[in-house]
């Protein structure tokens, strides 16, 4: 008995040793000549579609920075991106954040959604005193904790409700009647619920009639029970918050129920090229809340052209956010003047990025308050026209007039 136990323990010991050797301490600061920036993406799992798209835009941002020679105030140091795969799971996001910070020695981390991984990863970054730019996630809890090292690029969830309601008002005026009967479908995780809450409050106090208000568990296996309820309620517009695979089912099933006789408005998750690829002509006329599109300005069109030449796809809103996130870190480093995490965080609290070559998003400015919220963020609204996302609202950014489908005129 003892002999067996002893052998077993020897095995344990040797494994522990091997393990230790494999992971020899590498807690070193980044070298002077290159600056490492971490990117936490969902490269596998249910959101792999999105993660891979965003990787391209981050690579592109690093390439652009390095093409300019690198970061000037750091003696033209080059930028290197190190990727982590969160698999859209919070505890993996925690491990990967740890790895990026202590093993890879990144000066800052940028990340995408879902917000659960952002929430978990930011708490690690806070403890490790590493700046963390939440590129796409927005849920109140991310900024409510008052973390010094967390910066959220998108406006808070409350802005979304207001922006969407204003858009619906405007769309109604274009269609010649007020769209008061709203059908509201949302996925039941933090993001869907946070956005849902903000727009519900706004609609209720502004005379809208919420005829359907339903949550669903992601991922959806069948949209027909939800949509048959929507159909029966006879809405003027369908507003939905879901992730990409649910959205595809909504669009496909919506056609099956002849629900395409009213406008549909998504919440910033329909833009990846894979979505249009999947729904094809059925997506025509769909609206989406968005952060960027190739037609918001001449500069954007030129920018997208170069991007398209390299990756054979349009830069979409989320990808633009990630591009901008890397750029925010770059601006912070320029201001900090050294590749130091604390100095970078201090600098990020002070920067103000104005529209120009450093700000590709249609924002008024980027500047973070104490909690890390950027109040200068604005949304645009895009529509699928001839199987491409074009901007229709606000009018100063609109690349094309809004297309009113004939079916919508009851």
């Amino acid at each position: 008995m003892k002999g067996r136990a002893a052998l077993l323990c020897v095995v344990v010991l040797s494994l522990v040793m091997c393990f230790g050797v494999l992971f020899l301490p590498t807690d070193v600061q980044a070298e002077q000549k290159t600056v490492k920036i971490g990117a936490l993406l969902t490269l596998t799992g249910s959101m792999a579609t999105v993660g891979r798209d965003l990787k391209d835009s981050i690579d592109y941002a690093a390439e652009m920075i390095n093409a300019q020679g690198g970061i000037k105030s750091l003696g033209w140091a080059k930028v290197q991106i190190v990727y982590g795969d969160s698999q859209a799971k919070p505890h993996i996001a925690v491990s990967e954040t740890e790895r990026l910070i202590s093993k890879e020695g990144v000066v800052a981390i940028v990340d995408q959604y879902p917000s659960a991984t952002t929430i978990a990863a930011t708490s690690v970054a806070e403890r490790k005193k590493t700046p963390f730019v939440a590129g796409i996630s927005y849920a109140d809890i991310i900024t409510d904790r008052g973390y010094y090292f967390t910066f959220q690029l998108e406006p808070p969830a409350a802005y979304v409700g207001v922006a969407k309601a204003k858009f619906i008002d405007w769309l109604g005026s274009k269609m010649g009647r007020k769209l008061t009967r709203v059908a509201h479908l949302f996925e039941d995780t933090d993001w869907g619920q946070a956005v849902g809450k903000s727009q519900r409050e706004y609609w209720k106090s502004n005379g809208y009639d919420i005829v359907v208000d339903m949550s669903y568990a992601r991922p959806l296996s069948d949209a027909s029970p939800l949509l048959s309820k929507v159909k029966a309620a006879n809405p003027d517009i369908v507003v939905f918050q879901g992730y990409i695979s649910d959205n595809i089912l909504f669009v496909k099933t919506g056609h099956r129920f002849d629900l395409w006789n009213v406008p549909w408005l998504a919440t910033g998750t329909c833009m990846p090229p894979a979505f249009l690829e999947a729904v094809k002509e059925q997506g025509e006329g769909l609206f989406d809340l968005n952060m960027w599109a190739f037609d918001i300005s001449k500069e954007a069109t030129a920018f997208n052209k170069k991007y398209h030449a390299k990756y054979q796809k349009d830069l979409d809103g989320n990808a633009a956010l990630m591009y901008q996130s890397v750029w925010v870190v770059k601006e912070g480093l320029e201001k900090a003047g050294k590749a130091d995490r604390q100095a970078l965080a201090d600098a990020l609290h002070k920067i103000k990025i104005e529209p120009g070559p450093n700000l590709i998003l249609p924002y008024e400015y980027i500047s973070f308050d104490k909690k890390g919220i950027n109040a200068g963020g604005r949304f645009i609204f895009t529509q699928v026209q001839n199987q491409r996302w074009v901007t229709v609202y606000p009018e100063n950014h609109a690349g094309s007039p809004v297309k009113i489908l004939p079916e919508w005129k009851k």
Partner: protein, 336 residues
């Protein structure tokens, strides 16, 4: 039973000493994090093994126990300011009671094998869905543990090393409980139930009673683990702590290490967790999917080729060696 003093376990104590001294090596916090998660999963696997290994009742719903523990202590802490050190015990007991409830219903109805497994999956799914829809528990947004900086009385530390020692302590306690169970009458009864429940019943063993005891212990320990997770990550949500994914991860380790043995489950976690971590750090960023492909294949092949786990393999090798030794002795004798 003969009482044994601690110095009769030199090798075990040596392993413990190595674990206690490891942080002095100046490990980076990434390695520490990996070690902590490894110990944590080793602990959960050890807890699973009490019911799944010793008693042979395979549960695939242990995430529910972990989640109940984590949610209880976090809720008590954030709402009433009760220290997680206390909430931990309440959470553990609640998880154990949930186990009793589940076990009682299932065992009374005579469920075993795959049917018991499916019931535990369904029960854990229901717990997850209820929490998802429960506003007071944060719904899908989860709960954030209020961050208080370094505050040992509130189970929060700035340094990873402190968490590391807590994890070592947890695992040591889990293994101690396993040793006690396996040496105690309870352990013998559980094994008897696993091998042949009808025979055990015929011998007058109150099988329901002992199975429930094992369920409670397993649930209780898993609940403690839940609090540790919450205090370490500082954020819990149904997706990460109540989902089927976690339940699956918990059973992978004991089976790889050696089901129904004292050290097997922890050993499984010590092998497989680093493999997963290593695969991710090598391939995770470059080509999507390769690391999980590798991990899945590794898992599958390990179980196909070592159906009794690492411990089973070690034992077989020992037997072969012993057999050879004996053969040599016989040969030597014959020569004389």
């Amino acid at each position: 039973m003969k009482s044994e003093a601690f110095w009769e376990y030199p090798v075990q104590l040596l392993v413990l000493a190595v674990f206690l001294l490891l942080p002095l090596w100046g490990l980076s916090s990434y390695v520490l994090n990996t070690l902590i998660m490894m110990l944590f999963f080793g602990f959960l696997a050890t807890a699973w093994n009490i019911l799944g290994g010793f008693a042979g009742q395979h549960s695939l719903g242990n995430a529910a126990f972990v989640g109940i523990g984590a949610y209880t202590s976090t809720f008590l802490f954030s709402q009433y300011g009760i220290s997680p050190w206390i909430g931990m015990w309440i959470g553990g007991v609640l998880a154990g009671i949930f186990g009793l409830f589940l076990g009682y219903s299932a065992f009374r109805c005579g469920l075993k094998g795959p049917f018991f497994l499916l019931v535990t999956i369904a029960a854990a799914q229901i717990v997850m869905l209820v929490v998802l829809n429960c506003r007071a528990l944060g719904g899908a947004s989860g709960l954030t543990v209020p961050y208080v900086g370094s505050h040992p009385a509130l189970f929060q530390f700035e340094s990873k090393i402190a968490y590391y020692y807590v994890a070592v302590g947890l695992l040591a306690a889990g293994i101690l409980v396993s040793i006690l169970v396996s040496r105690h009458r309870l352990g013998y009864y559980l094994v008897a139930i696993r091998e042949n429940e009808d025979a055990a019943c015929a011998l007058g063993i109150d099988t329901l009673h002992y199975k429930l005891l094992a369920t409670f212990l397993s649930g209780f320990l898993s609940g403690l683990g839940g609090t540790f997770y919450a205090q370490y990550i500082l954020f819990i949500d149904p997706e990460s702590i109540l989902s089927l994914g976690l339940s699956i991860e918990i059973i992978v380790y004991p089976i790889l290490g050696g089901i129904g043995t004292v050290l097997g489950p922890a050993l499984g976690a010590f092998i497989l967790y680093p493999v997963g971590e290593l695969a991710r750090s090598v391939w995770g960023g470059s080509a999507a999917g390769i690391h999980l492909l590798f991990y899945g294949a590794f898992l599958m092949l390990c179980i196909i080729f070592m159906p009794k786990g690492v411990v089973g393999l070690v034992r077989r090798i020992q037997e072969i060696l012993k057999g050879k030794l004996r053969a040599r002795e016989v040969e030597a004798l014959a020569k004389e």
